[in-house]
Amino acid sequence: MSAQTKQFKVIGQRLQRPDGIDKVTGRARYGADIDAAGMLHGKILRSPHAHARILSIDTSAAEQLNGVMAVITRADFPTPHKGFEDVQDNCMAGDRVLYDGHAVAAVAATSKHIAKQAIKLIKVQYQVLPHVTDVEQAIQPDAPVVHSGLVSRRVPKGFSENVVRYSSFGHGDIETGFKAADAVLERTYKTEATHQGYIEPHACMASMGLDNRADMWVCTQGHFWIRNMCAGVMAMESASLRVTASEIGGGFGGKTTVFIEPVVLALAKKSGRAVKMVMTREEVLRATGPTVSTMMHVKVGMNKAGRITATYAKLFYQAGAYKQATVDFGAMPAFAPYALENVKTEGLDVITNRPRTASYRAPGAPPACFAAESAIDELCQELGLDPMEVRLINAAKGGTKSSYGPTFEDHGLIQCLEAAKAHPHWQAPLEINQGRGLAAGFWFNFGGETCVSVFLNNDGSVTVTEGNPDIGGSRASISMMVAEELGIPYEQVRTTVTDTGSLGPNEPTHGSRVTFAVGLAAIKSARAIIDEIRARLARMWEVDVTDVVWQDGAAHYTGNKAGTFEPLDLRQVADIANNLGGPIAGHHEANAEGAGVSFGVHIADTEVDPETGFTSVKRYTVIQDAGKAIQPDYVEGQLQGGAVQGIGWALNEEYVYGEDGCLQNTGFLDYRIPVASDLPMIDTVIVEVPNPGHPFGVRGVGETPIVPPLAAIANAVSRACGKRQVDLPMSPPKVLASMQKA
């Protein structure tokens, strides 16, 4: 039966999550919510300079302070395993600090207060070096160089050594395409770095025995990766470190890597005690992994009929102090919503004296999409075309060769555009100083390394163990899929996120992969249980296994002795399982393939105050293909949350660096994420074009919603104020200045 026609019993219902009650009563345990007997408190000393050589570190006064049990610097770290050099260097600086906030030393003490005092007693002598934090300055041939000798072979000449990687994608011949256009638009766009802004700061607690075996409790999107990275940085065996993921207070990509965790391990090792460390908000903003900042040149050609004839983009992504590949994930999806004959994108990775960037929801895509969708919108204005029709004319379909190479399977872009066009929002009248913006966006989605085990308990209830921290209700969704597959009530299934000692490796909760990949593995594990039950009953009944079928939550005999054997449901099977050969379980380990691409279309209405340049969002609608929404509330939640993060990126969030290369806005007061009073309700439409790669048709939904909003808002503001906005965030002074320009 295809996913489209299948009638579901559990899937699609708005059921409540198993962790819900704990989270509304304060009982749920997050990263900072746990203590151990004899536990010490860790604290990190951070660089006040954007770029400096460390001449000396004197820790003696700190070590002598009563209550200080360990002080560490880079000298206390082993040579890391190959491939983890940058990770180690980012967690604890070597001979140079590379950005404001870079860790230099750390202490563990018997109280937070003493730890704080102790780091003030550490004396560091710095030789300040020239720095660069701006992407445009960093690429100039005479810019201060962050690292020498990293430039890879394909990087074009004419830049500083900070331009370290080059990539390109596309097909056709763009010059021919531009010649065929009736209008060609060329623009340069800029975006500033933003932060994921999870409300829970990083927190972790670890202890280590004299045999170097360690345990860690940490808020993370992926404790298996934390384990692997800590083992790499501390030159340990992965098996000797057991990591348990706490409940997690938001991650959005920013909690897929290590910052404090190896430091806590090193402190635990040196002190011989359990050590807990919780970042301050200032540390989170200065020294975790924000996004890229960008400069993007875009050129788009269009004919009078609205057909896009060629597109070109050259993206410079500032990715912090170490080499990264984020720019590829801007260059690939930039024009992915369109079926193009001629497309070329180039990506250049630029290093600067800023913190090493981490993933943030569809990492790399939102800026590129902002540039591409802005250019297309401006061309529509220039040629007097309807932006919805232009997108419909050019939309990629199943079978289209994508802008980055592969040919698309079936997906829901056209359906999303049709739904957007039919939505009352698209036709609603606008008032004075208001504008409506439209943008489409794309994300690849991902499957990846996944292990799941499902157990039939003695009473017939079912336990699912998986390895992906649940941020937005995934335990519910996975239980629902297992319940559906086994034909039992949702309440009979409980899904638990287990520690690294209890299951094979799992990639983090990233790439919009959990409901897809963990769901897939859980369904296959449930099928393994069904097959085992069928085989055992066939033996008991002395019938052919093909005559035992699992239907509506029970095993039925369908052979020619029908009527001889009563159907047995899961609880009855559990009851006799031990007489039939022992416990019954299913498990599945795989790299999940077939994630199924994702498209979304956003409509934004904004009003721009002509006096101040202040923008308010009046109405917002998100339309997205979910393949199949397992729990629609949680899908809507992803669409709404992603859209609002994108609105923040478009309008008010940015990293502000001073002349000294230091971050100036290190708190939520100045790094202003959207608050409730900034926003209208966020309307959602879930389109369901099943993903052929999943038994129930699921596509990941988490990342795509942050891709279109930058452009949707920019297009709305540009239309509202009559001036094309090319520089994010569109803060009031910037918008006002653009309006005052002739």
């Binding site: 409300i199 938001g250 941020i471």
Partner: protein, 160 residues
Amino acid sequence: MSHSHVSTTINGQAVQYACPTDASLLEVLRDQLGMTGTKEGCGSGDCGACSVSLDGRLVCSCLVLGVEAQGRTVDTIEGMADKNKLHTLQTKFLEHAALQCGICTPGVLVAARSLLEKNPDPTEQEVRYWLAGNLCRCTGYDKIIRAVLEAAKAMREEQA
């Protein structure tokens, strides 16, 4: 560091503690009393994750000293449900999926309760402005606002 002895009432129970004079109420709750339901997102009054009521007034417990609780009443998320019965706000938050990661949830619930005590029939805009000091990064606020409005409605009906 000098310590002060404090007698206070937390969630209806008389509580005594000795705390450093510079410790915030949030630190006392979390680190000394083990009441980790109240969260810390910033420690500077900007996120609302640490919201509690002090003598019925909504405060950021990270901006209140532990010693300031002397002789007063503190209400935290741990006291919101009546034993095994959830508060209507908690029920509506679950029904409307008004939480994703849930780290902001205790603070939002405490703040929303304080709003509904003052104003049992708030408009959407009143809810949005009252909760403007409670950051949520996951939900985009939509489902939170709906849940609060629905809870207000249900509570009015309970009263009627």
